[in-house]
Amino acid sequence: MKIGLKEVARMLDLPEATILRWIRQGKIPVQVEGDRYVFMDKQLRSWARTHNIPLKENVEPAAPNNGTEVTLYEAMKRGGVFFDVGGGSVEEVLKQAVDLVNLPPEVDREYLLERLLQREELTSTGIGEGVAIPHPRYPMENLSVKAMVATCFLNNEVNFHSVDRKPVFVLFLMLSSTTKLHLKLLSRLSFCLRDKGFLKMLRTCRSADVLFAKVKELEASL
């Protein structure tokens, strides 16, 4: 099989100028066809092997990111929306929330609650404006879905020790399999929360569909 100069430069991860210099200096096996250089696949591979040079294989062009990446909208749909969650303290509402949400079978509810409280002990997850984003300390590595966000509207506002001291009325319970994913969802959610309209909508929200539609709209503007 014949390979062109461009392709060889890509396989070796070097600029074409380097390959051309190597050809001039006779450091790489090459053949001349007319006025262009051609490399023989087999010859090139055995050359790379004897010199211990790794060759980059032909990779399929990576699918556009939005196809495979988890969006906040998807994670929220997976987590579901729950209204009238009871409880008067941080522990109580978290316990209620953990009992309510649909969890994949591999997640142990008691263990999850323990992890959530552990995280609250470090510092409050109440990020102000009556919103808290409880999540377990350390990512859930055995989570079969990549990430999920369960939205829980509280019956009574609860003091979450937030920075701005405002009582919390809504929880976004966030579970993710990696820190990277967690950071991404967190920053997207934070982006939504900076929108005044979104905050207003949360205060009066009684329907999951309205919430999802708004999130989708905001995410699209990112």
Partner: protein, 564 residues
């Protein structure tokens, strides 16, 4: 006096000590020569008895028992050990290696085992040189050159061939032709030769009559290169095979050597010319005195190859030089008789001419060292008038055999273990740099409970890009934060008080341990896109290692090795 030598110019210093080393190498080879002669004389009366075929077995068993139990040295027949020591241990060799293999080899060869005295002499000369260098408290770099000198002196004095000694040392042992190497080794080789000439007389070991050659012979010798190539490839491969099979089937080393010796003794009953180091057989070839015909000459080639592999492959002590010469001379003889048989009309040059070329071809191919082959053969036969044919056969034979066996028989084991590290090669430089030398400390350690707000404050105050996260209680390394990875979260003031460092860090960054070899680390760099990795030993962070620092050190390493 011992240390006033350090005040001298380096080359002068090496020349002086090189001369001392040459004396040592020369004496070692004279000692072995004398004891071989004595051994052969002592055993001569027993060779005519029916039980004589048992002699090689006894000799081989005693030889290995002596080496491992009396001298308590480690195995191997010499040259690979010297090469390993030169590349990995700064030329350090044990003092006992200077005599252990001489005695052991004497037992093997005098009893009839098919092996040569050269490899043991090489390690003796090298070990004497190494210990002389240590006595003068020289550094690794000078010791390595002197070890090369010791090896050169040994070869030079045993064959009375100074240039072959130089070529062998540069090609096979040191692998680098530099002025310093050449000067030191030249002196050692010259002195070594002179020592043996003083004690044993100045004789050309295999001198023949002058040759009369025609143009047809020059063409004919090209075909010989094909024969010598196959003979040497056969030898190298069979040797490897015997070594593998025998070490798998027989676990007690002296019984293994004895079995090899027994088989050699049986072959010797049919073909007596394969026994011993075989110098007598070579003289027969050179001197028109080998009577038997074409087929028998071919049989001797095969028999000698098999006997050599059985002797050395099973642990008998001895080198490949002399067997190669015997195989080569019989290959040449066989080829000449074949030519005469096929084209009787043409007047071919005599048997000695082809025997000599055969030796050059086989020794060059087995060692993958054409210069050694060319100089050795011209010097030991005095055949300077056929230098052109010697060069042709050597070069063609080496080129052909390189296709089948790309490495010298001495280097193969080292190559298989990735230990053949020639000077100034990538692997050599990387093997010498230690990870502790490459550690960087341009980072700021943070704790997992730190909030993003404090972290941003920290970022404002220092210029670092890397922030390793370390547990505040146990001190264990947890993960790494790279400034670039978290850039997008830094300006999200909403999260300042609820995001913790442990949520920002990447715990999946591959870590490097102090025991890792640099090539492995570079492979990690090659795979991912990280340019800096944390070095963690026993859970503790020791520093960072980056591609840029490696390049920096790599360059300086090459610069200090340069010879001015």
């Amino acid at each position: 006096m011992r240390f006033s030598i350090h005040n001298l110019n380096e080359r002068l210093q090496l020349i002086l000590i090189g001369a001392v080393v040459g004396v040592g190498g020369g004496l070692a080879s004279v000692a072995l020569n004398r004891s071989l002669e004595w051994g052969a004389e002592f055993l001569h009366p027993y060779r005519h008895h029916w039980y004589s075929f048992l002699l090689p077995a006894c000799g081989a068993a005693l030889s290995t028992l002596f080496l491992f139990h009396v001298a308590r040295d480690v195995g191997g027949h010499g040259v690979p050990e010297v090469i390993y020591s030169v590349t990995r241990r700064g030329g350090l060799l044990r003092l006992r290696s200077s005599f252990s293999r001489l005695v052991s080899c004497c037992l093997t060869i005098a009893s009839g085992g098919s092996a040569g005295p050269e490899s043991p002499v090489v390690i003796s000369g090298a070990s004497v040189a190494s210990n002389i260098a240590s006595f003068f408290r020289l550094r690794d770099r000078q010791r390595v050159v002197l070890v090369g000198g010791g090896a050169a002196a040994a070869i030079a004095s045993i064959f009375n061939a100074p240039v072959a000694g130089i070529a062998f040392s540069l090609e096979a042992i040191l692998g680098e032709w530099t002025p310093t190497n050449l000067i030191t080794i030249g002196v050692a080789s010259a002195v070594g030769t002179e020592v043996s000439r003083l004690l044993q007389g100045n004789q050309i070991p295999f001198e023949g009559e002058p040759f009369i050659i025609s143009d047809m012979d020059l063409v004919g010798c090209l075909g010989l290169a094909v024969f010598t190539c196959f003979a040497s490839v056969f030898l190298v491969r069979l040797l490897r095979y015997v070594r593998e099979v025998s070490s798998k089937t027989i676990s007690i080393f002296w019984i293994r050597a004895a079995c090899g010796g027994l088989l050699v003794g049986l072959i010797g009953l049919l073909l007596p010319s394969v026994m011993g180091e075989g110098y007598g057989a070579i003289r027969n070839c050179i001197g028109y005195t080998y009577g038997p015909g074409l087929v028998l000459a071919g049989l001797v080639v095969v028999g000698k190859i098999v006997a050599t592999c059985l002797t050395i492959g099973t642990g008998g002590m001895g080198g490949l030089f002399a067997p190669c010469l015997v195989i080569g001379s019989f290959t040449g003889l066989f080829y000449q008789r074949l030519l005469v048989h096929l084209a009787p009309g043409i007047h071919w040059a005599g048997e000695p001419y082809f025997a000599l070329l055969g030796m050059a071809g086989v020794i060059s191919s087995v060692l993958q060292a054409p210069m050694t082959g060319i100089f050795l053969i011209t010097e030991i036969t005095g055949g300077y008038q056929v230098l052109v044919s010697v060069v042709l056969v050597s070069v063609i034979s080496v080129t052909l055999s390189h296709i089948f066996e790309p490495f010298s028989v001495y280097h193969q084991e080292l190559v298989a273990h990735g230990e053949l590290l020639r000077p100034r090669t990538d692997r050599r430089v990387l093997s010498e740099l230690r990870i502790t030398e490459l550690l960087e400390h341009n980072y700021h350690v943070v704790h997992p409970e730190m909030r993003l707000r404090e972290f941003v404050e920290l970022l404002k105050r220092n210029e670092y890009h890397f922030f390793p996260v370390v547990d505040s209680k146990t001190g264990k390394y947890l993960g790494l934060i790279h400034f670039d990875d978290i850039r997008s979260y830094l300006f999200d003031t909403n999260l300042y008080d609820s995001l913790l460092v442990e949520e920002l860090m990447d715990p999946t960054v591959p870590t490097v341990s102090l025991d890792d070899e640099l090539p492995e680390v570079l492979e990690i760099f090659e795979q991912g896109h990280d340019s800096t990795l944390p070095v963690v030993h026993d859970g503790r962070l020791l520093g960072l290692i980056s591609k840029a620092t490696i390049l920096d050190h790599y360059r300086r390493e090459l610069i200090v090795e340069e010879e001015v």
